[in-house]
């Protein structure tokens, strides 16, 4: 446990310079995009006169120079204050915390689905490379991987929500239902099935193929040959030795995919009307709300660091060599 904290602290400290670069970079990138938050706002209200535009710009401090605004932002950030969102008219931390649970549920479930089901199917496919089940799974997963997530989302929604009406079309829970506790959790789970499916199935293919490839490679190694010569059952070889060896790169992949899934959730959150990070980021860009976007990036970065830490711990559990040498730190 202590080691985990030590690891976490080191990770956080070492990520500060990267975060700083990302923060300044994001600030400048949004600055380079034409139009500012007031332009976006005035358009959204259907126009206004010049004095109104002027006073809005002054009230948000957008009339100050770029350097002054960046400095102001960085100093308030140093006090752990994420600032005020122009787009939402509320403190950024509030806006982010409100959306965070939805994103964690969506991402966590999708990662669990793609990793869990992907590795199991990968084992099935890799147990007998070249068999019928291997071929069907390989082709199937490739086809799934080629499908864009918004399309899969819409198709799932049309079939299961609109036609069959088994599941709700969108949202994170039944609106104003007054459900509490377990009943509410069940309701949220029902709402998550389709978006998690749409997001998870695409990454599933990735894990499946990696697992299969890793196993095919492990089969060719000497230890596999030795075990077969020793007369161990095929099931035992596959599960205890081959799969365990092939699982290691998958765990690494899990850490990497957590970041890319945050990006993939933009589309899924829009299609299924889930108020999460992806949609928030999109709204921040459209509204030219740099502090909000940076706030999202910082929290996302923390999330990814956390996932990677968990991955490291899992790694040590799976591969005793890693833990012994301390290679992960």
């Amino acid at each position: 446990m202590q080691r985990a904290f030590h690891l976490l602290r080191r990770r956080l400290i070492s990520s500060i310079p990267v975060l700083l670069i990302v923060i300044v970079g994001t600030f400048l990138l949004l600055e380079a995009a034409p139009g500012d938050a007031v332009d976006a706002y005035v358009l959204s209200i259907g126009g206004g006169d010049p004095a109104l535009v002027q006073s809005l710009r002054a009230s948000y401090g957008l009339d100050q120079s770029l350097g002054a605004r960046l400095w102001l932002y960085l100093t308030s950030l140093a006090r752990l204050d994420l600032g005020w969102s122009v787009t939402f008219g509320r403190p950024i931390l509030d806006v982010i915390l409100e959306r965070l649970p939805n994103t964690i549920w969506l991402m966590g479930s999708a990662l669990a689905l793609s990793f869990g089901l992907g590795s199991i199917l990968g084992i099935v496919a890799g147990a007998r490379p070249g068999s019928m089940s291997d071929r069907v799974l390989s082709v199937g997963s490739l086809a799934l991987y080629a499908v864009p997530s918004f399309w899969l989302g819409l198709v799932l929604s049309i079939v299961f929500a609109v036609q069959l009406r088994w599941l709700p079309t969108s949202g994170i829970e039944t609106i104003a239902s007054g459900k509490q506790g377990f009943e509410r959790a069940l309701d949220i789970a029902r709402h998550l099935i389709l978006p998690v499916g749409a997001l998870g199935f695409i990454y599933l293919a990735l894990f499946l193929r990696m697992m299969r490839a890793g196993m095919a490679q492990a089969w060719r190694q000497d230890f596999a040959l030795a075990q077969r010569a020793k007369g161990l059952s095929r099931r035992r070889i596959v599960l205890r030795h081959i799969a365990r060896n092939a699982l290691l790169p998958l765990v690494t992949m899990l850490g990497l995919q957590a970041a890319s899934m945050l990006g993939g959730s933009v589309v899924i959150e829009s299609v299924f009307a889930i108020p999460g990070f992806g949609r928030l980021a999109q709204e921040a860009v459209a509204g030219r709300d740099a502090p909000l976007l940076i706030g999202i990036i910082i929290v996302s970065a923390l999330l990814v660091i956390l996932v990677n830490l968990l991955v490291d711990i899992a790694y040590a559990l799976l591969d005793p060599r890693v833990g012994a040498s301390g290679a992960t730190t």
């Binding site: 959204s44 126009g47 006169d49 959306r99 009307a273």
Partner: protein, 519 residues
């Protein structure tokens, strides 16, 4: 003129009471106070909570029916306007509604803060309140009552004085997002990214209204999702064309779903080509006329709007019968004429058949404005003008067109709001500084048009003022500072158990007191 007609909503179709209506909403306005932000996105939700002095009506005198005011009259000199207010109205928190609320709204909110009120109430000096149910607006300069009257549905949302009084900065008040009004529904809850919930106001001033217990505006940013949720009966209504035009053909055949194209007559959007007059070629009237001749308006209406629009003849839409005139120069689709005009103007085709090049910036706000951008590029190339389409997002478009003037042609969806002086004359009047969206940012200057606009602002006689705006249409159509192509309203799609849909010209942004669900 006084108007004491019975609100037509009392005579609306009788239907069973109760039930929850779930409506699709594609945006969550940052400031939900319609007295400050007079925009359709805000009205869509807030108009059920906060009411104007008068609302638009199909049958009412001068196209209005009473809400918080029961009659209105302007003085002949244009220096005052008297409103008789409804009695027995209370705010949602129980406080009685009085003329002090109207005076406060007008002087502290509409005039200094509201995007449209700043213009309409520019010369408002004081509001006298001789008794609790009379408000007399006093103007420092004569102000045409026709304009005030026509603007009422849009600019006169009344907020409670006791809620905002004493606020240092009303525009930034948290009360702007926790609305207290007099309307048929009370603002109950907003879950950001999910929904707004409005509950029935038991003490509403109109007998027997509202009909439904609850209205929920569910946030659905994806248009395809709105159609799906409607089919699955998770929502009962989608307004403002939230179900895309291309889906209408299919969804109109789904059992239990109805498509309405009425109910937007008072919020007509106009598809126009904005012209940058700083560009030498475009400053030539013949070139602008040639471009007008190169556009096949009927094709645009049929193909891009799938028939849910009408071709325009000028800067005021047909849906404004008070002012509209068809007696203006028109520009038929005629490529020969267009080519001849361009030749006459001295821009001959070069070896590649190109006369000159320009940049075309379609507004990104609607699918239709983007599609029309692509069409216009083709239409221009057929007369030898080589246009490059530049696509931007909203903020970038606003900066490029309305602040930096970095465009040659732009496609704009302008809105006609009941009176040309509200948001139409600004499109061609000279002198608006840079940075103002939906204004004359093409740098067009025409002293005759400027004078006409000025004169209309000073004309108190209704018939005379109306005639001036007819002349204004003729001048604009003749000189073409901008090219109006089509005008459209939106489409409402609803389950067929929803009653009293589309029964006034600003239906989607009206109070929905009579909307009902049949079991």
């Amino acid at each position: 003129m006084a108007s004491t007609a019975m609100p037509s909503l009392l005579m609306a179709q009788e239907a069973a009471n109760g039930g929850r209506l779930i409506v699709a909403s594609d945006s969550e306005p940052r400031n939900l106070n319609p007295a400050i932000v007079a925009s359709n996105g805000v009205f869509f939700i807030s108009s059920k909570v906060i009411e104007p002095l008068a609302e638009a009506s199909f049958e009412g005198e001068n196209g209005l029916e009473p809400r918080l005011a029961i009659s209105w009259e302007g003085s002949d000199d244009g220096l005052s306007a008297t409103f008789k207010l409804r009695e027995g109205v209370t705010w949602h928190d129980g406080t009685p509604f009085t003329s002090a609320d109207v005076a406060f709204s007008a002087l502290e909110v509409w005039k200094p803060l509201q995007n449209l009120g700043r213009l309409v109430f520019e010369n408002l000096e004081a509001v006298e309140t001789p008794d609790d149910h009379t408000a007399i607006f006093k103007f420092s300069k004569p102000t045409p009552f026709q304009l005030i009257r026509n603007a009422l549905p849009v600019v006169s949302s009344v907020v409670a004085r006791h809620v905002f009084e004493g606020e240092a900065d009303i525009a930034a008040s948290p009360a702007n997002n926790r609305l207290v009004g007099t309307g048929p529904f009370k603002f109950t809850e907003h879950r950001p990214g999910e929904y707004y919930r409005l509950e029935r106001n038991e003490d509403y001033w109109a007998e027997g209204l509202p009909k439904v217990d609850e209205i929920i505006f569910r946030v659905l940013p994806d248009r395809a999702a709105a159609a799906g949720a409607l089919e699955a009966d998770e929502i009962q209504l989608a307004a403002f064309s939230q179900v895309p035009l291309t889906d209408l053909e299919r969804i109109s055949k789904v059992e239990g779903i109805k498509v309405y194209s009425k109910g937007y007559e008072g919020l007509t959007y106009q598809l126009a080509v904005d012209v940058n007059h700083r560009r030498k070629e475009l400053a030539d009237r013949k070139v602008r006329q040639a471009i007008a001749h190169a556009i096949d308006k009927d094709f645009v209406v049929k193909t891009i709007f799938l028939g849910y629009a009408a071709p325009s003849t000028g800067i005021i839409p047909k849906n404004a019968p008070e002012f509209y005139t068809a007696d203006v120069p028109t520009y038929d689709f005629d490529l020969d004429k267009a080519n001849a005009l361009l030749d006459e103007a001295g821009y001959a085709k070069d070896a590649n058949g190109i006369r000159f090049k320009l940049r075309l910036l379609p507004a990104p706000y609607f699918t239709e404005t983007r599609q029309f951008g692509d069409y216009l590029r083709q239409a221009l190339s057929s007369v030898g003008i080589d246009a490059t389409v530049v696509n931007n997002d909203s903020a970038a478009h606003q900066k490029a067109v309305y602040t930096d003037h970095d465009f040659d042609l732009a496609v704009a969806p302008t809105v006609y709001r009941n009176d040309p002086a509200i948001s139409t004359t600004i499109l061609v009047k000279s002198g608006t500084p840079a940075g103002v969206p939906f204004s004359n940012q093409g740098g067009y200057v025409n002293p005759r048009i400027d004078q006409l606009i000025e004169k209309a602002n000073e004309t108190m006689d209704v018939a005379e003022r109306t005639e001036l705006f007819k002349e204004f249409q003729r001048l604009v159509a003749e000189d073409l500072p901008l090219i109006n192509v089509a005008e459209w309203g939106f489409i409402t799609v609803a389950r067929d158990d929803v009653r009293n849909v589309s029964n006034n010209p600003r239906w989607a942004v009206s109070n929905w007191a009579d909307i009902a669900l049949t079991p």
